[in-house]
């Protein structure tokens, strides 16, 4: 019985060792990416096969864009708060609300334009094929997400009669 127990335990141990080896070897690259100082850029380098020089250019562009992006965030939050305040005190669409909506839309347009300019510049810093793939991916993730609102035809039939 002792021999059978040893073989049984050794088999289980072997399976556990094999599992851990494959798991840790398989996730080593991604775990090291996640440990980087700027993991998202490290991921970009790996995903789009950037050389060190290309990665440096992309990192510089990213660093230059960050303050602009932060400013955009601040303006969006500010305009949004103003709009919310107007909506809380009015029950009709007043000229002030219309003006605020226009300002919010203008900020959104500015933001999208700045983003798009950044994406184009980053894609130009990459090898052409990778740059094209990057643009498709990032546009789908940003503009695609914005435009993924359900259309009227996809709305529930019960909703159409209530408007």
């Amino acid at each position: 019985m002792k021999r059978a127990s040893i073989i049984f335990a050794a088999g289980l141990l072997l399976a556990i060792v094999a599992y851990c080896s494959f798991y840790f070897a398989g996730t080593a690259v991604d775990r090291s990416l996640a440990q980087c100082q700027v993991p998202e850029l490290a991921w970009l380098k790996k995903e789009f096969h950037l050389s060190d020089a290309e990665f440096q250019r992309v990192s510089d562009l990213h660093a230059a864009y960050r303050p602009h992006c932060a400013e955009m965030c601040r303006r969006i939050a500010s305009k949004d708060a103003e709009l919310q305040a107007l909506l809380a005190t009015n029950t009709t669409v007043t000229p002030e609300i219309k003006t605020k909506l226009t300002e919010v839309a203008q900020i959104r347009a500015d933001c999208q334009a700045a983003m798009l300019a950044q994406f184009f510049e980053v894609s130009r810093s990459m090898p052409p094929a990778e740059g094209k793939r990057y643009l498709e991916w990032v546009e789908e993730k940003t503009f695609g997400a914005m435009q993924s609102m359900p259309s009227m035809s996809e709305a529930s039939p019960n909703d159409s009669g209530q408007h």
Binding site: L14, A15, L33, P39, E40, I76, W137, K141
Partner: protein, 148 residues
């Protein structure tokens, strides 16, 4: 007929013991008249049998002997009852006695362990990469950053 009893093959010896009429066949099949050898129980008595019959045990049994004996019997009976664990244990004992089965068991577990590890690693890698991609998008898209 490999075993011999007093120079006779086993079958012949058996016939002698059972008291056939003395006409026996030897190992070549020839019928021979042999000395009637029906065994007289009195003559063939085991020399130990008489002293053993006369032997009397005077030493007293240890205390609770009977109780302990019964307990051991009950324990052994309980061990004999078939449980899933005992079936599994017996199966392991029998199976792993064969080296081929033991090696096959180790190989199968090795494959299961490495396969599961590989699949889990693949899933985890995809998850990490996906989350890093999302993080990049959030770092460049103010609307995703503020959740608007």
């Amino acid at each position: 007929m490999k075993m011999n009893f007093c120079g006779f093959p086993a079958r012949v010896a058996y016939n002698i013991w059972t008291g056939t009429d003395g006409l026996l066949r030897d190992h070549t099949g020839t019928e021979r008249e042999m000395m009637y050898m029906k065994i007289n129980p009195g003559q063939n008595e085991d020399p130990l049998e008489r002293p053993l019959r006369a032997w009397q045990v005077n030493t007293p049994l240890p205390p609770h002997f009977q109780e302990q004996a019964w307990r051991r019997i009950v324990d052994m009976a309980a061990e004999d009852t078939t449980t899933l664990w005992s079936v599994f244990r017996n199966w392991c004992q029998l199976a792993f006695a064969r080296p081929a089965v033991a090696v096959a068991y180790a190989v199968v577990l090795l494959f299961i362990g490495s396969g599961t590890g590989y699949l889990q690693a693949h899933r985890k890698s995809a998850q990490i990469e996906n989350s890093l991609g999302e993080r990049y998008v959030q770092s460049v898209d103010p609307y995703q950053k503020t959740g608007m």
